[in-house]
């Protein structure tokens, strides 16, 4: 009888991030990078495809949470004061949601 390998315990799948979480991840990444980062750094840091990243960046630009700037001749995205305020407010909302055990 052929040896059947023991069943491998399935690792729990990571939960899908909500849109708000993705916006927050991008803004927090910019904060961590000192306020500005190149698109490629955001791409890897936020763990998004190029197409999706462009979509999210466009919304953040439209909302005024980030702005485009030039740093050393290269284009970067920079978090705006409005973006900082949004992150601060989001943290409060996240804590509220977490308190009730209802994920954001």
């Amino acid at each position: 009888m052929p040896m059947v390998p023991p069943p491998v315990a399935k690792e729990p799948e990571p939960e899908r991030r909500s849109q708000v979480q993705i916006y927050a991840d991008i803004l927090r990444l910019l904060q961590r990078k000192g306020g500005a980062a190149k698109p490629t750094h955001i791409l890897y840091g936020a763990n998004l495809s190029h197409k999706r990243l462009l979509k999210y960046l466009e919304v953040l630009l439209m909302q005024g949470f980030i702005e485009q700037a030039s740093m050393g001749g290269r284009m970067v995205y920079r978090i705006t004061p409005k973006g900082h305020v949004f992150l601060k407010e989001l943290k409060k909302i996240e804590q509220f949601s977490e308190a009730f055990g209802v994920p954001i």
């Binding site: 909500s18 708000v20 989001l90 409060k92 909302i93 804590q95 509220f96 949601s97 977490e98 308190a99 009730f100 055990g101 209802v102 954001i104």
Partner: protein, 231 residues
């Protein structure tokens, strides 16, 4: 103030109607007159403040569970505000004119307030319970809660739903060990305690007071959580 009885059970409602006001008012200690109104007012304000925050959360995420949370506290806040007005008016009439009846001898405005509060609590707690049910199954929840509540005693049903909500909140707190989650769990447990104590208020006036203290402590826990997350 026969309304207190109305929340206890269907059977007791009938008893209170038969026995009239004198029997009904007997479950509230004289020294506690008016304090319960203040507790309802305080709870209504906290409930509506939580609803406001939850609507902000829903506006950001668009999630159904957040909508349920916001709706639950809005309905609960409105129910408690109604109770504040009717209960306050009843005490006013009692102290000023020595009578509590408005419509007739057995059904007064306080009863109406309690009926509105009872029904709004039932809907609000159902929404709260739904916020703990995964979205895919949530659509069946209202049917279950409302069907059961039609046949069961209202107050026992309110306790059962709140106990389910509190159980989920405690489970979440045990997982996260977060202080805010602990405050929410404590708040829900104490709110369940209010409904657990009320059916036995016929045996001891102290239980009526204890139940209301449980309610106010529950909302204080929720207020502390609100202040902490607002910092």
């Amino acid at each position: 103030m026969a309304g207190r009885y109305h929340l206890l059970s269907v059977a007791v409602v009938n008893r209170s109607i038969n026995l009239g006001e004198e029997m009904a008012i007997d479950i509230i200690p004289v020294r506690f007159y008016g304090f319960d109104t203040a507790i309802y007012a305080f709870a209504a304000l906290i409930g509506l403040a939580i609803a406001y925050k939850a609507y902000k959360l829903h506006g950001l995420t668009g999630k159904k569970q957040h909508f349920y949370l916001a709706t639950a506290f809005t309905i609960l806040g409105i129910g408690l505000a109604t109770l504040t007005l009717t209960s306050g008016y009843t005490y006013y009439r009692y102290f000023m004119f020595g009578q509590i009846s408005l419509f007739d001898q057995v059904f007064n405005i306080d009863d109406l307030g309690f009926w509105i509060y009872g029904l709004s609590s039932l809907v609000a707690y159902s929404f709260l319970a739904m916020s703990y049910i995964p979205e895919s199954r949530a659509r069946f929840a209202p049917l279950i809660f409302f069907t059961v509540s039609y046949f069961a005693y209202l107050n026992i049903m309110l306790f059962a739903i709140m106990a389910y909500v509190a159980f989920n909140a405690v489970r979440h707190w045990l997982d996260s060990r977060d202080t805010n989650s602990g405050l929410v769990a404590a708040g829900f447990l104490l709110m369940a305690g209010f409904h657990a104590a009320l059916p036995f208020a016929t045996f001891s006036k102290l239980l009526y007071v204890a139940g209301h203290f449980s309610l106010v402590l529950g909302f204080i826990a929720l207020l502390i959580m609100l202040i902490r997350v607002g910092k």
